[in-house]
């Protein structure tokens, strides 16, 4: 059976702009991935914890508040601390090009800017993520009512 890519779409910090996160979550789901959306106002700690617990392959962070230089590095270091670097971190939002370069150096695998089509995100994920062996065969949806 085909293994599905599992993605945690997360909204860290105080930023309430969730249009992009939700559109991406819906598009990844429709592309056959397993998507867990955290909802708003998550701390880096709770995001990393959810990612490990949900056994995801990818964390997608959406930040439009300008706090990206604080939050991305924090999530990466927490993953390292928990020995979970195999989880890929990607993201999107309002992130200037200079900051994108710096974040990629720090270990963020891919950043999508405004206007990126969802198909580009889907293609990138399919090409770059190998779904790992899941601890649980059954998908457990947390806080996730879907449409």
């Amino acid at each position: 059976m085909d293994k599905k890519i599992r993605v945690l779409v997360a909204k860290p910090g105080l930023d309430g702009h969730d249009r992009g996160a939700k559109v991406v979550a819906a598009a990844l789901r429709d592309a056959g991935m397993e998507v867990i959306y955290t909802g708003l106002h998550q701390s880096p700690e709770s995001i990393v914890e959810a990612a490990i617990q949900e056994d995801v392959d990818v964390i997608g962070l959406s930040i439009l508040s300008g706090a990206h230089m604080t939050i991305f590095p924090k999530v990466l270091s927490l993953l390292k601390k928990k020995n979970a670097q195999k989880i890929i971190v990607i993201g999107g939002g309002i992130i200037p090009a200079d900051d994108m370069k710096k974040l990629k150096k720090k270990g963020v695998k891919k950043l999508f800017g405004p206007g990126a089509p969802t198909t580009e995100i889907i293609t990138w994920l399919k090409e770059n993520v190998k779904p790992g062996k899941k601890k649980r065969a059954q998908t457990r949806k947390k806080n996730n009512k879907g449409l």
């Binding site: 910090g13 105080l14 930023d15 309430g16 702009h17 969730d18 249009r19 996160a21 939700k22 559109v23 979550a25 819906a26 598009a27 959306y37 909802g39 708003l40 106002h41 701390s43 508040s65 300008g66 706090a67 230089m69 604080t70 939050i71 309002i94 200037p96 090009a97 200079d98 800017g113 405004p114 206007g115 089509p117 969802t118 198909t119 806080n143 996730n144 009512k145 879907g146 449409l147």
Partner: protein
């Protein structure tokens, strides 16, 4: 030539391969004629500007008397930086202020709160105590300038701070003019900035209505906002319907409190988006005015004609700006601004071309302001009132949007009103679905955006970007510590205790909040005190 002959000829014409529909999904015909406006009654449906049902505008002579207020939403970094930007904007002909707060302030959290890390001064200016507001408005006379503050859960606190700054400048509260957004319903639906659950939020809002109608009579107490509903992905029709439904809900809560509708309704104002579909946007504003006037008169029994007036601010659509070829945003924004003016807006914010990257630079924001000045002084558009009134297309669209809005009101009523519909996730789901549909339409090329899915270029944008240096956060925290060490902490404790008591006893909170801010209690201390009584909101998760 008769209509039949033209229609025959038309059938033989080849049409572009394109679905001719508005953003809200209304089918657009090739031509509109008097036949489309068969049921159109001039006196009943349009009337005269400043007269019922206000379709053509809320004032008798509209822009021939006074142009709209050019009000650029702005605020960043420290209070000192923001004060400097305001003086710059006023010097270049801006006629009103509009304060953007940073995320911690919007959520009622202090700059040293762990949740504020990385966010201080980023999306707007940081305000912890009255001291910050004193600096923001330093040298700006509050008796001569009107100020709009985009603030929601802690709206009462920022209004209290503004009143206190006025006191220090010798300007009494009854002279102050301005607006607080204070629209929590759209927060739960779209913008997602909340602290307390909906019911206590509605109580605070009603407290503000009551307090201001007595003490700050020229203040716009709620700016009922469709802007964020639209930015979150809704269509024009949903923006129109949800915003009005929210407006009626505030009216109902005011009436339930025992307030006279004509005492508080004239101070309600509105805030709309101006998006890409030029004519649909214009029709939206006209339909909004007409629905509001009719409902206020016929359903809520308002008598004072000022209660019928839908006065509104407009901001061009941030969500339509593109990071690709950012200079195009200047033109995009100009069209949207023109739609707002043709729709009869009372004030206007034009977005800057660089806002998909960061807060705007001074240069970008000046071009945005100049865009409004071009419309005002060069185009001749403000010379006559509602120049598109009577256009068969505009009138048809206005009617269709109006009809669609009433259909949504019925749906909302079936849930038992706006609050139960929020609990059920109705608005949230409607909005996310539209957002997803819009994105898919772009990706399937059923809808176009230059630089995004047509006429794309690979070249990266080459524009200057405003950076907020990291020391802003450190300095703001340091300043907060100073204020805390200088203030009378015994008094702070006492005013907070009385605030909690008022919350428990059901007394109006405004006088107590004023006491708190006057002794430099922080925004976080005040909100945390109220959280003890009101609790915190948890959203239903839907995508």
């Amino acid at each position: 030539m008769s209509r039949e002959i033209w229609e025959k000829k038309l059938k033989n014409c080849k049409e572009r391969d394109f679905k001719f529909k508005t953003v809200s999904g209304i089918s657009v015909k090739p031509l509109y004629t008097p036949d489309d406006c068969e049921f159109f009654d001039y006196e009943r449906d349009l009337g005269y500007p400043g007269e019922f049902p206000f379709t053509r505008g809320v004032y008798t002579n509209m822009y021939r008397g006074r142009l709209w207020t050019m009000r650029q939403f702005s605020g960043f970094a420290t209070p000192k930086d923001t004060n400097r930007r305001y003086k710059y904007l006023l010097k270049h002909g801006q006629t009103g202020l509009s304060v953007a707060f940073d995320f911690p302030t919007l959520y009622g959290r202090d700059s040293d709160d762990p949740f504020s890390r990385g966010e201080v001064g980023k999306c707007g200016v940081a305000v912890d105590t009255l001291r910050d507001m004193e600096i923001i408005f330093d040298g700006i006379p509050l008796d001569r300038i009107s100020t709009s503050m985009t603030i929601n859960p802690p709206a009462a606190i920022l209004l209290a701070m503004y009143i206190a700054v006025g006191e220090k400048q010798g300007v009494p509260a009854h002279i102050l003019t301005g607006t607080i957004q204070n629209d929590m319903l759209k927060e739960y639906q779209a913008q997602k900035t909340w602290i307390y659950p909906p019911e206590p939020s509605m109580r605070i809002i009603t407290d503000i209505l009551e307090y201001c109608s007595e003490n700050v009579p020229k203040w716009n107490t709620i700016s009922i906002s469709g802007y964020h509903i639209r930015e979150a992905g809704s269509t024009a029709l949903q923006e129109l319907a949800f915003t009005l439904a929210n407006g009626f809900t505030y009216v109902e809560y005011g009436i339930k409190r025992g307030l006279e509708v004509d005492k508080f309704a004239p101070r309600l104002s509105f805030f709309f988006n101006s998006h890409l579909d030029f004519f649909e946007e214009i029709a939206k504003y006209r339909a909004a005015r007409r629905i509001w006037a009719r409902m206020m008169r016929d359903k809520y029994n308002a008598q004072n004609p000022r209660s019928f007036l839908m006065r509104f601010h407009t901001q061009t659509a941030g969500c339509t700006l593109t990071a690709q070829q950012p200079e195009n945003n200047i033109v995009r924004t100009a069209f949207q601004a023109l739609a707002a003016v043709l729709g009869g807006t009372q004030s206007l914010h034009t977005n800057s071309m660089d806002e998909t990257y960061a807060l705007p630079t001074e240069k970008a924001v000046k071009i945005a302001l100049r865009t409004q000045q071009l419309i005002a002084y060069e185009t001749g558009v403000p010379n006559t009132i509602d120049p598109l009134g009577g256009s068969y297309y505009i009138e048809t669209l206005t009617n269709e949007l109006e009809k669609g809005a009433y259909e949504y009101f019925k749906k909302i009523e079936k849930f038992g009103g706006v609050l139960p519909a929020i609990e059920k996730g109705f608005f949230q789901q409607e909005i996310s679905r539209s957002a997803y549909k819009y994105q898919r339409a772009l990706e399937k090329k059923e809808r176009f955006q230059v630089g995004i899915n047509i006429f794309e270029e690979d070249k990266p944008a080459d524009i200057e970007i405003l950076k907020i240096p990291p020391e802003v956060e450190r300095n703001q925290i340091k300043k907060l510590k100073e204020v805390k060490s200088e203030r009378n902490n015994r008094k702070v404790k006492e005013t907070l205790r009385l605030l909690l008591k008022a919350a428990r006893d059901g007394d109006n909170l405004m006088p107590r909040i004023l006491d708190c801010v006057r002794v430099y209690a922080t925004i976080g201390e005040i909100c945390n005190t109220l959280k003890e009584e009101f609790g915190e909101y948890q959203e239903p998760i839907i995508f």
